[in-house]
């Protein structure tokens, strides 16, 4: 009986050691696994086709907030780092990027590279040949999706000086309070003006 108790005590101690060892292995393994230090984002371009030497607006979203990514063009001619951008508090950025004028025409992949070299977002693009001395090609998209864009991807409208149409916030209570304030200001102002004139006359 005593030996049985002893054996069962030894057995439970052995099981505890085994469980602890397994837990340690799992924890060590988990810590050794590469943690994903950044989020996968999305890139948006006004057009997937542009010319070497062009300035193209690039918009990024859903990246890690306040993170740094490098925009890179990768093609048959090699890897061309374009610019380092910093995302804002919601993990977005907007940047106009100059495409190197020395790029040869062809298919490229625009990659947003995280600091650890991981591909955080990518788009397939086409670079057209630069015409030396020629006028830069016009920006193509104006308020419509461009051919070759993925489903749900929106084009960036060309900026204008025209104000946007706003669905303005209205509230009867705020408007009433504002009207009351206006009336009170006019009434008090007029009363003060009269009393000032009266006081000046009296002082004479």
């Amino acid at each position: 009986m005593r030996s049985h108790i002893l054996n069962s005590g030894l057995g439970s101690a052995r099981r505890r050691v085994t469980r602890t060892a397994m837990l340690a292995v799992v924890l060590v393994g988990a810590s050794a696994m590469p943690a994903r230090a950044h989020d996968k984002g999305t890139l948006r371009l006004a057009s997937r086709t542009f010319a070497a030497g062009d300035s193209i607006p690039v918009t990024g979203a859903k990246f890690s907030p306040r993170d740094e990514v490098t925009l890179v063009l990768v093609g048959a001619s090699g890897r061309h780092a374009l610019v380092d951008v910093r995302t804002d508090s919601v993990g977005a950025f907007r940047r106009v990027v100059l495409v190197p004028s020395t790029l040869t025409s062809g298919r490229y992949r625009l990659i947003a590279e995280a600091l650890d070299g991981d591909e955080a977002a990518a788009l397939d693009v086409v670079v057209e040949a630069n015409v030396p001395g020629g006028a830069p090609p016009p920006h193509k998209p104006i308020n419509h999706a461009m051919p070759g864009m993925e489903h749900g991807e929106m084009s960036m409208p060309m900026p204008t000086a025209a104000p946007v149409s706003l669905a303005r916030a209205r509230s009867a209570s705020v408007t009433s309070a504002a009207v009351l304030l206006i009336l009170a200001c006019f009434a008090a102002g007029t009363a003060l003006l009269r009393s000032s004139r009266h006081q000046q006359r009296e002082s004479h």
Partner: protein
């Protein structure tokens, strides 16, 4: 009732030093052209109060900024009203400060011993332009992005003086966030300090109005209160009737907008002289304003020349604003002009 309130009011008046306001001022000081500075101050108070409301809704991050401004205008009636009041009060403050400067210049209110008053006023004017610029940039719309692009280009031309406007001045913080900090803390603090000096100098040196006829300061104060209240009423009414506009979210690399009206004279100078115009025009204006108390110390040729030059500059500024408002847009940074 009067017997009950008088000791209370009197006691409070004694403790608050209200008796210090019991003095006479020239009766001419009750004219509207002597109240332009007070009207500027009233507009600044409205700006501060509406700004406090706006700060509860604003997100000072490069992309969050535009969304938060749009949220204010589309989702919150009180923020939309505060936004309109802020914009109209800013225009009112700039109109009144320019008119105040012109009126003081015309009546030579900068002469001995009021040079300090003039110079503090000139710096106040520069601070108001700084507040208007940073306020424009905070919108995050196309006009804001272009204003910032112009400012950073100007900062490059200005050398080390323009360093704070460079994106890499403090790489850990976005330029927009730093401009927000300037707009809500550094510039208002400087403004308050200079206003305190300006008001103290007015109290110490007296109003520059001439004439032997006197009026109690209390009547002057009432009149200032009256016109200030009327101004507040007009500003709130304007905000209700003409709410502020907003352009689409800003995209870098384009020049399709013109600046807010107080900066149109600088825009006109850029049309004529290129990017250096944005440094030449303000440099010329503020350089002249700084020299006025030195060049016009007493009647004579120098005094007449100063008056002519000042008048020409003032007229030129008005003409330049009108020209820039009507002329077709121009690219100053070699960017895409759209369309």
């Amino acid at each position: 009732m009067a017997g009950v309130t008088s000791p209370l009011v009197g006691g409070l008046g004694d403790r608050l030093g209200v008796g210090g306001l019991d003095y006479d001022v020239p009766a001419r000081a009750n004219r509207l052209d002597f109240m332009l500075g007070a009207l500027t101050l009233a507009a600044l108070v409205v700006l501060a109060l509406s700004g406090v409301v706006l700060a509860q809704f604003y997100d000072p991050t490069p992309l969050g900024a535009y969304a938060s401004v749009r949220y204010m205008l589309e989702k919150s009636a009180i923020a939309a009203l505060a936004s309109g009041v802020h914009v109209w009060a800013a225009s009112a403050a700039l109109v009144f400060v320019i008119l105040h400067l012109a009126a003081v210049f015309w009546r030579r209110g900068f002469r001995n011993p009021r040079e300090g008053l003039w110079w503090s006023g000139v710096v106040l004017l520069a601070l108001l332009f700084g507040l208007a610029f940073t306020g424009t940039v905070l919108l995050g719309d196309q006009g804001a992005v272009e204003a910032l692009a112009h400012a950073t280009a100007g900062a490059k031309l200005a050398g080390p003086l323009g360093a704070p406007l460079r994106a890499d001045f403090t790489p850990s913080t976005a330029l927009l966030s730093r401009l927000y900090a300037l707009h809500v803390s550094a510039l208002p603090l400087a403004l308050i300090a200079l206003l305190a000096l300006h008001l103290w100098l007015i109290r110490h040196l007296g109003v520059s109005a001439t004439g032997s006829e006197r009026a109690p300061f209390a009547s002057h104060l009432r009149r200032i209160g009256a016109v200030s209240l009327l101004l507040v009423g007009i500003v709130v009414a304007a905000a209700l009737v003409w709410p502020p506009e907003l352009l689409a979210a800003g995209q870098e690399g384009f020049e399709v907008t013109k600046p807010m009206w107080p900066f149109l004279w600088i825009y006109a100078a850029e049309n004529l002289f290129g990017m250096t115009g944005m440094l030449i025009a303000p440099g010329l204006l503020f350089g002249f304003l700084a020299l006025v108390p030195v060049s016009d110390r007493r009647d004579g040729l120098a005094s007449r020349v100063t008056r002519v030059v000042g008048t020409v500059l003032f007229v030129l500024m008005i003409v330049a604003i009108a020209y820039a408002a009507l002329a077709p847009g121009q690219s100053h940074l070699g960017m895409d002009m759209g369309g």
